[in-house]
Amino acid sequence: MTVQEPVIVIDNLHKSYGKVQAVKGISMRVEQGEIFGFLGPNGAGKTTTIRCMLDVIRPTSGTLRVLGLDAQRDKMALHQRIGYLPGDVRLPGQMTGKQVINYFSRLQGREPVLLDDLVARFDVELKRQLKGYSKGMRQKIGVVLAFMCDPDVLILDEPTSGLDPLLQRTFNEFLLQEQARGKTIFMSSHIMSDVEKVCQRVAVIRKGEIVTIEEVEKLRQKAGQRVTVEFGDAVSPDDLSRIPGVSMVTSHNHAYHFNVGGSMDALIKALSRHEVLRLQAEEAPLEEVFLKFYENPQVETTTTGTR
């Protein structure tokens, strides 16, 4: 593997099931030490892409390389260095957590060097049979299975699904620590707030096609500010909509709410002509941006982050 080659390279990946095209020619790159978010609504093709990366299903066409190795041809060498967390962690009910961990670490062929830390950090129950486990408890075992052998690349399919908010925070902190240790993490989700806390870049997939690949910070800038203004005099929504950068104007209880993209200068100058009783500005939730992508792929088709 050359030094410059990204850790994950997906080129023109297609996957069809009969006449149904689940993935339609997607391409992306993930760099060493990056936490990369793969966002999309249910059925968009996230899990299909991930399962192609693991050679559990075979692409119809296109190439997939991870750590410089072909995902199909070199899978044995590649899988020694990968940790995987499936979207729906299901485990054999008759086994205990300890037995499952022992089974998969033996399949990995490596000692689970991070096991003690992971068990303590996520408070994992190991002695009971798994049939009594809740979804969250199974998810914690899944996290342990993915990370315990200290892999170089983590492929996580909706990793925080089923975790309570406290554990989600612990998990996010853990991801950032693993990133600091040089690990590359590819994680899918359909919830923006899950990935915006940890990811540097995100790809949005919709109906099997990449809608955008963007740095989270740039998306944040695009989302702009969410502004609430309460006026002492009469102002119409049309007056506000005409201000450059202002969009999504709504009103509620004498207050106007709207988004402002880019500079606030025009807004401030316009507001100065009115009596302003209250003014509040905060970062607009990225969720809104992504809902637009989910609903309408024509909103943005930039791929500035593909590198």
């Binding site: 693991l54 054999p92 490596r110 000692e111 060097v113």
Partner: protein
């Protein structure tokens, strides 16, 4: 963010001995099925042992030498009052093939789909385990199940001989009978692995494999009943399974077991090819 111990001085993972871990887990998953099979083998052997003094006085000749009964047990016996004949009828006839061959067919058929269902297949194949190895280890677990049942049969008969007077068991022919039945169970395992390679529901795949053994039993029965249906015999496996003849009559056709083994290999290898080529399901 607070740094913790894991961000410092992580030892590189050492290699870990794998052994036949997939085989072991699959074998243990089938312990109830195999345990039930072994229990009934033991039960039948002991019941025959206990009843033998009475059974040996009954004239079974007209019954066991009839076409109908020969069709049911899969062989026409000459000496029907000996202990080895009675044990042969109960444990090494076509019924043995149907029940215990069926257990192995079901076990092998369910082995792969059960790992789709319990979610371990994706997790296992995301590790450095090839599909071929995964498949072969599961197949091996079914073959070990067959060996377990075979050993259970031998042990059960030995226990019965402890209290049966004049038990005329020839141990070398019993070993040959066991090997013949093992060849049939190997075929059953191959049939099971074949169905499991493309079906996603464990009970359906196991049931389909068992169904093939049951169909073979019916063909064997009808084929023995009439000369016009004798063509059925040569295309079903029980015709080539002469465990009862080996134990009771001390005679076999040497190449018959090879037919079973080759057919089992063909089924299993076909399953392996399918499993290697297919997309694996998510549920």
């Amino acid at each position: 963010m607070a740094a913790t111990s894991i961000s410092k001085n992580i030892a590189a993972p050492k290699k870990r001995a794998r052994g036949l871990i997939i085989t072991r887990v699959s074998f243990l998953n089938a312990k109830t099925l195999l345990g039930a099979g072994a229990f009934y083998i033991l039960f039948i052997a002991l019941v025959i042992g206990f009843l033998y003094p009475t059974l040996s006085g009954i004239n079974f000749s007209s019954y066991l030498t009839s076409n109908a009964v020969a069709g049911l047990v899969g062989a026409k016996l000459k000496n029907v009052s000996s202990f080895s004949s009675l044990i042969g009828v109960e444990l090494y006839s076509s019924i043995y093939a149907l029940l215990w061959g069926g257990i192995i067919a079901f076990m092998a058929g369910a082995a792969l789909p059960a790992t789709f269902e319990n979610g371990t297949l994706d997790l296992a194949l995301a590790r450095p385990i090839s599909r071929t190895r995964y498949f072969l280890e599961l197949w091996l677990s079914a073959v070990l199940g067959a060996i377990f049942l075979s050993l259970a049969a031998t042990l059960s008969i030995w226990l019965a001989t402890l209290f049966v007077k004049n038990a005329d068991i020839d141990w070398s022919w019993l070993a040959i009978a066991e090997l013949i039945e093992l060849a049939l169970m190997f075929l059953a395992s191959g049939i099971g692995m074949f169905f499991g390679s493309f079906m996603n529901a464990s009970r359906a795949a196991g049931g389909a494999a068992f169904g093939i053994i049951a169909l073979a039993y019916l063909m064997n029965t009808f084929g023995t009943l009439s000369d016009k249906l004798s063509w059925m015999l040569k295309i079903e496996p029980l015709y080539y399974t002469q465990g009862i003849q080996a134990l009771s009559e001390h005679s076999i056709t040497g190449w018959y077991p090879a037919v079973l083994v080759v057919a089992g290999l063909v089924c299993g290898i076909a399953g392996l090819v399918i499993f290697n080529r297919r997309d694996l399901p998510t549920t």
